[in-house]
Symmetry: C2
Subunit: 355 residues, 2 copies
Amino acid sequence: MKRHNFSAGPCILPQEVFEQASKAVLNFNALDLSILEISHRSKDFVQVIESARSLVKKLLKLGDDYEVLFLQGGASLQFVMVPFNLAKEGGNPAYLNTGTWASKAIKEAQRLSTVDIVASSKEQGFNHIPKDYTVNENADYFHCTSNNTIYGTQMKSFPDVKVPLVCDMSSDIFSRELDFTKFDLIYAGAQKNMGPAGATLVVVKKDILGKTGRNIPAYLDYQVHIDKDSMFNTPSVFAVYVSMLTLHWLDQQGGIPAIEKINQEKANLLYAEIERNPMFKAYAVAEDRSTMNATFNLVDEAYQDKFDGIWMDAGINGLKGHRSVGGYRASMYNALSLESVQVLVDCMQELEKQA
Amino acid sequence: MKRHNFSAGPCILPQEVFEQASKAVLNFNALDLSILEISHRSKDFVQVIESARSLVKKLLKLGDDYEVLFLQGGASLQFVMVPFNLAKEGGNPAYLNTGTWASKAIKEAQRLSTVDIVASSKEQGFNHIPKDYTVNENADYFHCTSNNTIYGTQMKSFPDVKVPLVCDMSSDIFSRELDFTKFDLIYAGAQKNMGPAGATLVVVKKDILGKTGRNIPAYLDYQVHIDKDSMFNTPSVFAVYVSMLTLHWLDQQGGIPAIEKINQEKANLLYAEIERNPMFKAYAVAEDRSTMNATFNLVDEAYQDKFDGIWMDAGINGLKGHRSVGGYRASMYNALSLESVQVLVDCMQELEKQA
């Protein structure tokens, strides 16, 4: 059965990536060895991680002033590493609160410093991105979340700040063109547009490090990982390998400009239907709607069982909304086809007919 | 070509595990979805992690006073987490220094507290396990490393201590029978006897936690992960899945008693040849030799190219010693067959003939 996987992450990856990864689990690079049993210091794997690293720089158009790391622990460990590496003792990092994950990042920074929350949309159920705020020039850094997976909102522009700009791009990296040189630190759990769960991408501008005077535990210290080319300890070999395959696939598609065009078409198709169809209403305000995660609810929840039956029968997977928002969430990551979004739109129209 | 993989880790896993994992990358549990694209909160994956957890308890014969966690970051992150969770401010944890990894664990504990190094074999190139030492009754805990992958030494017994006993078992867990109830905290990177790189096993006795009064970053706090059943954040889904398959395989083989018997046969075969063959000498002292990693050198290094040619031609992989010891290291983890060890022994005898 052809499945249409709208899962919020881990999520759909290109079919050819699944096929190549499946083969490598049996026999990698014709070595007669599985990708799971080779040394992370073997020539073949070093080539994989170096290729992944250079694809990241190529796709994001970044130069040698940036380092690319593949770590573990997801964005949740980055919430800890960012203040350890960038917040001075007694310093004041600035954070924008746009959702659950931003709130968690703030909580971790608060263990080490006094955080200045420049703005928050919490009172409005995080249904929009705050825009009127200023970032103090003396802040250690400014932290924001580019896309809020749970609420379906996305920052369409980023402020010009005079301090290091740090961004959690877990759920929309590699999905749209941005001037990535504007950012000093970008991090992302792999399990959306980059690969499977188990790897964490960190892109860091080298000159922002080494300024806090903190005694940083080795694993939490970006400089330690930079000095060892992400081999300070055994990396998540398979997750890095599948990420490399996915980045290579994206490059072959024409890179970020090409995929952004398709992502915009998918989002336009779905949001137009949410607006048109009287059975549904959008959760996020129009101007801040995410191209990655569309959140919407039934106007009349009595139709829930009927609608669930329709989309499940159509082969759709992973459409249930997060418990904090309820309703539905359609995650339309890079590897999801326009055809799958059309299937969802057809289901929404089918409900309208049956109602 | 049939390969004999003596790699030190990531390392050989059972062939049937590779086959099942390869299939799951294409279609997991007949869901028409890849294991790489399903939600970690899906019923099917929750079943995987619960099954892995209960297999760990079954194989180690542990009761409900222990919690089993699947984290990320390897033993290197555990070096940080152990003192954060168990060392009081101003406390004195006790460490045994038996090698490179023990030294790294000590270094991380020293960032948070004054460490009492009860004994060290560093001056002798870590070629043995120190045995005459006492652990202060007021220590926060006692930390040791059960098997030293780089030097090929293994603790054959563990001291009776009156403080929590913490053990890094990364390279020999599930390889031999021990009274695991003697330990209060066991951790292990998955990439030896448990699975692929990317998952970290932590087994912790609940009553030792919550006593330091420290403000612990969320990801580093064992209690946070316990409260969320290892789902505080997205776990390394595929690595946990392959670990579950490997644990299931071990259970089907007859568990630890059955595999220990084979591991002992493999070690006896190889060490007997190292002793007998005049071309080779062992690195570690006899009584402390590891059943997992045998370290040995050529008596005359002039034969290196010849020996390397012989074992490479025989399909052997991963025999080069670690740069700190040189020579050779044969890692004989659970999934390596007695037949592969016989192939290595044949190569050693072939060198003797040709010399």
